[in-house]
Symmetry: none
Subunit: 102 residues, 4 copies
DNA sequence: ACCGTGGTTAGCTTTC
DNA sequence: GAAAGCTAACCACGGT
């Protein structure tokens, strides 16, 4: 699939493509490649859904262990914010370093 | 950890928590368990974020291969909707069956 | 109110706001306009809440008439999904048409 | 419609209804009533959607007037919370008054 | 009567 | 700057 020589449908401004002489072969090939992309995406989304499910289960466990879920979520959320803040500060530091010549 | 005999903090309306005789040991143990939950969740969320990233990359690839991303997203969305609809219709059937007494 | 010449508060990153010469008049005017927006929103949300209440009542009526509410909800939900699907398919068609250059 | 003499489908535990000898007339009547409920609900939901749209527009206006939408949402939300709190306190007061004999 | 669950809605992020 | 998709909080319902 590294040697792609047919052009799939694509947003275009005013040009007309594949108007005539477009055999079924290319159409089929394009369709197959499209299908491949769709399936890759769907598999990944499925994995994502599974993990989301796992997360819910962990919260459930925590609840069963006596923790307050809402509070727990807040804690996780706050740590994530801190993390972002820390990264931003690091970026800023890098920026400064670059500005003064490494 | 299956034999949990300390009570973690928890949302309470008007009760008094940890009033007296609450040694540091329990507090530490509770904190440790809380930390464990938080870390499990964070690890899972990290995995989820990675997959979300992968999905974005696949869309990027598709775009590079000449597909229109917006259209591709629509296709994926419609397929998901079909899936949901199919499931709901099955549920509805079961519901009807229950509603009229099996 | 079409000629607004004062600047209300607004999220800003690192700028200095209302530094000097900022009399009370502008502040009051801004506050008044803010209040007006808040009140408009609150009135609309109130209307929305009333309608949500009405919907609940209709479900209640249906229940009183012997219909199974859960099933009824499912039916409504499926019809909504059909509607959305129909619209999306139309959009998809347009999208395809655009993608291949009209 | 005050004299309803047919029984619509409904959740039941173990009884079997409408098994045999159920003419089409009742079925049609039930279907018609069901349809009426569905349509009433759909109309109300449509109204609700319109109002939700209006609210979005007001936020848009406020933004155009220079207000920060996120902050504005926060203000509205806080006022709603205050309102709830106020009501709860009033209820509590009534409760007390009742408890001591008006 | 309470808990657990699922559906609904609002807010945030990211894209165009 | 607008629009949409995704995510997280909220709420009402049914089950136990």
């Amino acid at each position: 699939m590294t040697e792609s020589n047919v052009t799939p449908f694509q947003a275009q401004d005013s040009d007309v493509k594949n108007k005539a002489g477009d055999g079924d072969a290319q159409r089929d090939a394009t369709a197959a490649r499209l299908k491949a992309f769709v399936e890759r995406i769907e598999r990944l989304e499925e994995e994502k859904a599974v993990i989301a499910e796992d997360i819910k289960e962990v919260y459930g466990e925590a609840k069963g262990a006596g923790f307050d879920v809402k509070t727990l979520r807040k804690v996780v959320s706050l740590r994530k914010m801190d993390e972002q803040k820390r990264r931003e500060e690091e970026e800023l530091l890098d920026l400064y370093k670059g500005a003064i010549g490494l």
